[in-house]
Amino acid sequence: METDQALNNDLICAIATPPGQGGVGIVRLSGEGAHTIAAELCKNPLRARTAVYTDFFDAEELLDNGLALWFPGPNSFTGEDVVELQGHGGPIIQHRILNALCQRGARLARPGEFSERAFMNGKLDLAQAEAVADLISSTSIAASKAALNTLKGAFSQMVTAIALDIANMRVRVEAAIDFPEEDIEILQEARVAQDIAKTITSLESILAQANQGRLINSGISVALIGKPNVGKSSLLNALAGEEAAIVTNVPGTTRDLLKVDLVIDSLPIRLVDTAGLRESDDEVEKIGIARAKAQAMEADLTLYVAAADEITTQVNVSDLGKNLASLLGSNDTAAEMPTSNILLVINKSDLNLAAGAPEDVASVRVSAKTGEGLDLLKKAIQESVGFGQENVPFAARQRHILIIQDTLAKVNAAADALAQNLGAEFVAEELFIAHQCLGEVTGIVTPDDLLGKIFSEFCIGK
């Protein structure tokens, strides 16, 4: 088996335009089969070196429309088959297109990989080589920093725990293979099956919790919650920069949820305005309030909007919790809501009241009316979901999610191999690859590391 050529032009894809909102957003695809899966997305035949105006689909769902350009290799930027899908830009759409491509066999390109391929295929001259190396070096530093950022916190703990679970399973399976004569019951198939099932559950829950699907498909969701007439809808409009919500000064105007998609410095956000929370006899409004409460629970971030004149005394976390609890009408609900997901927004700062400053609550003072503090609010929203500069963490996070999806597929395959009684080495092989996948996030475990674990856990040796 030759280990070189065939695998070096596997299909890669990436967003080719700078992050953020732009007039045109280009998704580029390079490698063997680029033309085939692009045509599948377009449901249209592509013509070489010709712009084809087409819709882009993910299965039956229309994602965007725009131009598809096919550059058959070797006459392309990378020297391979390249397709560019030029749509309407916007990270949400672009990421959905990337997702659709990845589901059909492409993978996200590593930093600088298009240039690397171009260079390897003689499309860039020697003088440019250095630049490419620099590019890879610098972007990978940024990416690894970003990866590090996303690896802080619960997400990373979960991934690390799963990697450990897989390592432990591998220890048992590999020990059973390499040391079948030891007087230890290393491989109890039932136990391995159980461990695999447990890992599958963990991986599935991490995927669910990572929320990345939602993040990619609709951005993060931010709910505006507060008493009536504190200016939630005004704030929404100020953020959206357009009159998306109906804003009046009659309490209870917003009776149902109003959703606005907007992008703040390339972070896609679904902002949900809710009915003001108050006791109401109006049936329609009651339903609206119930929905608002539900929305507050589901949102990635809840902006608890209070008018400056509402906050006249010192506020602290427990006050806020209590406030919110009473607003939501239940202590339980409030207890379930982590305060880290709540941002206190003190609106109507233009009233210029000498309001009490919140102590240990994250808070921002804004004026939806004058626009004062809006930039701070935008920044606070981004930071609250771990979104830094340059859009890098978002991509890094997405890469991690894809890795976890791959890992899950392999662990599922291990479960199948075990169920089909294929032989321990087939189970071992799937777990090995699963471990390798996850290794991109957690670091690779070498065969020798694994042997070390085996020898430290089991008394092996004749």
Binding site: D4, M120, I136, S140, D178, E181, D183, L422, F426
Partner: protein, 634 residues
């Protein structure tokens, strides 16, 4: 005096590496001299009397596929054969044989004595003859000089050997062998890196003093496997059983009470022992919660009563050895015929070798076997074979053979050693091979024999045997493809397929519950034994079964693994100065400078390597090669 004839290849050392090396280079037509301290001990099994086992039998199969000695000798000497992992998949099934030490030695010597182009000479080597950084021969104890184009050094643990029995120490190689000091001095003067390892042996027991009625007995397998693909059961001598006993609380107490007298625990030993082969002291200390350890009692041979109790290697003093041995079931009156001991020895850091096993320090000098930090007859034999091949190829002005990791366990072994070195005696495990599914015992010939034929390494008998197997597999494949099974037909019922629609026999074979035995029975051509040996078609049919059943799976796994690798074939120029490459971390620069990988594949296996760093290496390598092409065209 200078010996009148000149040789192509001189092999120093007559252990498992030396004998394979000498036989291989002679098979390739190189004029070969084997220099050994004792012709009597050629092919001596100095540790436990067994060949094969998991990972190891894979190496034996590869040696065998290249027409080497080990598999053939094992079939002459094996007194107890088993297939390990029989219930698991084909890639990890492994044949293991207990061998009669004397029969084994005799078989090896017989093969060597019948090998054309090979001569033997009994004498210690005291020095190498070096001219212009090229090894051109060696000098023996009596001042005799043999000249050659290449030298393969396979002298095992002869370097700085120190034996520990409790608090007593003595210099030496294996028990009974004198250490070859002079040659060691010579090698130490060269810029090789040297490390220190240790290993242990158990006390040997006189079987007449053991009550076997108190031991569990373990029979060999029936049907009995053979080690060589050309082996026959009729070659096997008489078969006997192994036995199993256990340590107990009393044994552990005796050991614990005397720990301070163990060379290992008193600090007298500085070398690093293997993690997979801990001494009994180690087991008792590290796994204190285990109340009992299993001890395999291996017979040393048919005509000796000596036993090898596998699992109690020790460096405790003799009186303690006797005490704890006698605490085990069936060993109440045991007589120790040879005390157990720990041996410390120096090894040459294999990172100073090329993948051909030629040293980077002296051209024409090859190292193989335990001297490179490995353990085990099979690991030694595999390296010996490779060194012998490459020494002969060097004489023929041919490029060295460097088996890849996806091609052979030999490739995995050498690649691991040369890339990463080792800190404990290196032993093969299947988990070291990422292409485990394709590196099987059953297909070793298909993987390697064609290569062996190309090298002129494989003789006419094996060639005929191999070609016959291939044509049989091909014929079965054709037949199975062309045999249609209709729902409800005779075959459908006999194979219990419950077909809904027509299928082929080949498709039926893909099912997990259908195997070659069932099919041959259903076809009324049962694979019955002939003259006490497996049916001549059995091997080919089994091969077809494995290939048919697992082909798709193996292909998919290959793809998965290959996806994780890129541009692995890209060579890194020897002149590459890793410290001058921008964008690499200082830590990686140092590691790269240290390992000096000659390809991207090898760089990728250096611990701590990252995808980004590989990309940077790739681009620099490509740029360097473009530069040099440019320069040469100017």
């Amino acid at each position: 005096m200078q010996y009148p004839e000149q040789f192509d290849v001189i092999v120093i050392g007559g252990g498992h590496a030396g004998t394979e090396a000498a036989a291989a280079s002679a098979r390739m037509g190189a004029k070969t001299l084997l220099l050994t301290q004792s012709i009597e001990t050629l092919g001596q099994m100095s540790c436990n009397p067994a060949i094969g086992g998991i990972g190891k039998s894979h190496l034996v199969a590869e040696i065998d596929a290249l027409d080497g000695v080990m598999g053939l000798a094992t079939d002459q000497a094996g007194i107890h054969f088993r297939v390990l992992n029989a219930s698991k998949g084909p890639a990890v099934r492994a044949t293991r044989a207990q061998a009669d030490r004397t029969l084994y030695k005799n078989a090896v010597r017989e093969i060597l004595e019948h090998q054309p182009n090979l001569q033997m000479f009994q004498q210690s080597v005291v020095d190498l003859v070096v001219e212009n950084d090229n090894v051109v021969g060696c000098e023996t104890q009596m001042g005799l000089i043999f000249r050659s184009k290449t030298v393969v050094l396979t002298t095992g643990t002869f370097l700085g050997g120190k034996i520990h029995i409790g608090d007593q120490q003595q210099s030496g190689g294996r028990a009974g062998d004198p250490p070859s000091i002079a040659l060691a001095e010579r090698l130490r003067a060269l810029p090789f890196r040297v490390g220190r390892l240790k290993t242990g042996t158990p006390p040997r027991i006189d079987g007449r003093s053991v009550d076997f009625s108190e031991l569990e007995s373990q029979l060999g397998d029936d049907p009995r496997p053979v080690m060589s693909s050309m082996g026959k059961r009729s070659y096997h001598p008489k078969q006997i059983s192994c036995h199993i006993t256990y340590t107990n609380a009393n044994t552990h107490q005796i050991i614990t009470d005397n720990l301070s007298r163990s060379a290992m625990y008193s600090g007298a030993i500085e070398g690093v022992g293997p993690r997979y082969c801990p001494s009994i002291e180690d087991k008792v200390v590290r796994f204190a919660d285990k109340s009992s350890h299993q001890i395999f009692i291996e017979p040393e041979g048919l005509n000796t009563t000596e036993l090898y109790p596998n699992g109690i290697s020790t460096s405790l003093p003799f009186d303690v050895q006797l005490q704890f041995v006698r605490s085990m079931q069936g060993f109440g009156n045991a007589h120790i015929s040879r005390p157990g001991y720990a041996i410390e020895y120096d090894y040459f850091d294999p990172r100073d070798l090329n993948h051909s096993l030629e040293t980077k320090v002296l051209e024409g000098l090859f190292f193989a076997g335990q001297i490179n930090g490995t353990t085990g007859y099979e690991e030694a034999g595999a390296q010996g074979l490779l060194a012998g091949i490459n020494a002969a190829r060097k004489c023929q002005d041919k490029s060295p053979w460097e088996p890849r990791r996806d091609e052979a366990y030999i490739g995995v072994l050498v690649d691991d050693l040369i890339n990463l070195g080792t800190t404990e005696p290196y032993r093969m495990f299947t988990s070291r091979a990422e292409f485990r599914l394709r590196l099987r015992e059953d297909n070793a010939d298909q993987r390697l024999t064609p290569m062996g034929l190309e090298f002129g390494l494989v003789g006419p008998l094996r060639r005929a045997h191999f070609e016959e197997k291939l044509s049989k597999v091909e014929a079965f494949k054709k037949q199975f493809k062309g045999t249609c099974i209709l729902p409800g037909s005779d075959l459908d019922q006999k194979l219990a397929l419950n077909l809904r629609k027509e299928t082929t026999l080949e498709e039926a074979l893909r099912r997990p519950e259908v195997d070659s035995e069932k099919i041959s029975k259903a076809l009324d051509k049962p694979l019955t034994e002939e003259n006490g040996d497996a049916h001549p078609d059995a091997q080919a049919l089994k091969q077809l079964e494995i290939e048919t059943k697992y082909a798709g799976y193996i292909k998919r796994q290959d793809d998965e693994i290959l996806k994780l690798r890129r541009h692995e074939g890209m060579l890194l120029p020897a002149s590459m100065d890793f410290s001058q490459i921008d964008g690499l971390s200082n830590e990686l620069k140092q590691k790269l400078q240290h390992h000096k990988p000659d390809s991207l594949a090898r760089a990728a296996r250096i611990p701590g390597m990252t995808p980004a760093a590989l990309s940077i290496l790739l681009i620099n390598a490509k740029a360097a090669s473009k530069n040099s092409t440019k320069a040469s065209t100017l």
